[in-house]
Symmetry: C2
Subunit: 349 residues, 2 copies
């Protein structure tokens, strides 16, 4: 309830500062915003002094009202699930800060309704840019809806950048997920594995679909038949890797290798294997995805696919914050197989 202004400058706003300094609002504003407009030394100091005295903190809302979009980037993570998201956020923060932007963080948690709610909130906040991190849903209705929402935002003057999504007409900084998965499976195949279990991410996500695609390509190129029975669904979390491994092993005891679509799940596989008395890689080869820091710490160190998280983050935020207008630019960052010690030739055939 806006109390009737009792005196023109009783608050702690610009007006108060101006009055205290004995200058006009305009002058005070010019001084405090570091405008290029010249202000005499004397007045400038009086304003600065008054501001200091009154503990003046500019009201960003008010400013944005006259200025338009704000230097805030809305980061919408689809799923803050694995260690990876954290590296992503860290890298984001770093670049944003340098550019003087603030970060608004949201986690949709694979909930479509929540995702759109957040998108709306970002638009309401008039954030200058929105980053969609992580993979999206592999669904056409969803895609259309999302596209509509984002187009509206872009029309308002916002920028949109996506990491690892596809087919939407916005700037994209994605990694070569398909290629990475293919390389992983081929590595296993090359070593002689034929019975390879796969623990996927959630079926509905494009990230999962991509990795699956890479896997099928690898099998095809080696002429090894695809076996649906050797595929179980996980959620990228460690616990689902553990459960998935157990299901796989009881379903197909002749398994010689497992490809987990995230390192976290691979760690779960390590646990399950240990619990069963299986040694890695002697009894079971394991390969992960993402190359998170812990991958090299476990013993044996995990063979995995590097995922350029920080690079993606940096590319994305720079596109938001920088001056370049790379609309619809599509950048594909390569992934790479990191061979460590968790893969060996299969024990017996």
């Amino acid at each position: 309830m806006p109390a009737k202004r009792s005196s023109p400058a009783d608050g702690s706003g610009l007006a108060a500062v101006a009055e205290r300094a004995g200058v006009s609002l305009a002058t005070a504003s010019r001084v405090l915003t570091g405008s290029t407009h010249r202000v005499s030394r004397d007045l400038r100091e009086r304003v600065l002094h008054a501001a200091e005295l009154l503990d003046y903190v500019p009201n960003a809302s008010a400013r944005s009202l006259s200025v338009g979009m704000r230097k805030i980037v809305g980061v919408l993570l689809h799923d803050m699930v694995d260690s990876q998201s954290y590296d992503y956020i860290r890298a984001l923060e770093d670049v944003a800060d340098r550019a003087g932007w603030l970060i608004m963080l949201a986690n949709a948690g694979r909930n479509i309704e929540k995702e759109f709610r957040y998108l709306r909130a970002f638009r309401a906040e008039r954030v200058g840019a929105i980053i969609l991190g992580g993979s999206g849903f592999d669904d056409d209705d969803y895609r259309a809806h999302l596209s509509r929402e984002l187009s509206g935002y872009v029309k308002q003057g916002g920028r949109v950048v996506m990491s690892a999504r596809h087919g939407l007409p916005f700037a994209e900084f994605a990694a070569d997920t398909v290629g990475g998965a293919q390389a992983a499976i081929e590595h296993l195949l090359e070593r002689g594995h034929r019975r390879i279990g796969i623990i996927t991410g959630p079926r509905a996500m494009t990230g999962t679909a991509d990795r699956l695609l890479g896997a099928t390509r690898a099998f095809e190129s080696y002429d090894v038949p695809w076996d649906d029975n050797l595929v179980v669904e996980g959620d990228f979390r460690r616990t689902s890797g553990l459960a998935g491994c157990e299901r796989l092993l009881s379903r197909a005891p002749d398994l010689t290798a497992i490809f987990a679509m995230s390192d976290d799940m691979a760690f779960g596989v390590y646990e399950a294997a240990t619990a069963r008395g299986l040694r890695i890689p002697a009894d079971l080869s394991v390969i992960g995805y993402n190359d998170v820091a812990m991958a090299r710490v476990l013993s044996p160190p995990l063979t995995t696919v590097s995922y350029p998280t920080a690079e993606l983050a940096r590319g994305a935020i720079e596109a938001c914050v920088g001056n370049v207008t790379l609309e619809r630019s599509q950048v594909m960052v390569p992934t790479e197989l990191i061979v460590r010690k968790s893969v060996a030739a299969p024990r017996s055939r």
Copy 2:
């Protein structure tokens, strides 16, 4: 640059919606904000329809101008360093979302100047609450400065909650860091260890000071002399644990145990030990701090101190978002020694 309004309702603002619906601004506002004020069914629908048609997105800045503080919580992390911060953020997001609050995330990265800059930015944004996560600097000037800044904010109507800081007159949700460290060292002492290496966090942080305090208490209670030579400084990161372990081992080859003040550093110790051909715990006992998820995955599973990250986060954000006015409340959440397999009796005395 605010273009002169060419027509009273050409934009996509409330005015446009109102005009389109053939109602007054007030009515449109009442409908779209879900005000309790009654509006006839007919008008309500016309407004809703117009809003839909025009892709109306309310301007949060404008709203906040008349309404005051906003439902945004500014989260200032002092150091987004270990896996822990991530759990913290996750928990924060969860509660905030339920309450309809947005999160503004900032990472001061142990840089005082940056910390204050962010604090200012939060105030400028008129965020309704500020959470200071992680430990602060163990320095009186800093504390005074911080206290001043936050007091100004509180005077403006903001809420402040700190996790793991001390001696400042604001609500505090902290963990019993001292007790946890003491328990860790006592556990080692009890098992017969006398030459115990310690890898600390950054000296300047209160979190480090607290753990150090706990450690000295433990030594005192067992009448074991403190040896400065057995203490090296780390930064809570894995790599510093690795380096610290090596320094420690070359400095004091008779070491039988190491207490790392973060799990991440303990993981580094694992690496260093493995590289040296030392087996854990047979040749070297290790104990960490935080009980991050990976602690149980390594072999041997890491004995560590649980740190109620999620609980702290939840407490903090609830204090911000909820209605309770728990000014200056100080909540101390207990920590707990989690005994796993990385500690054994010392090999030889």
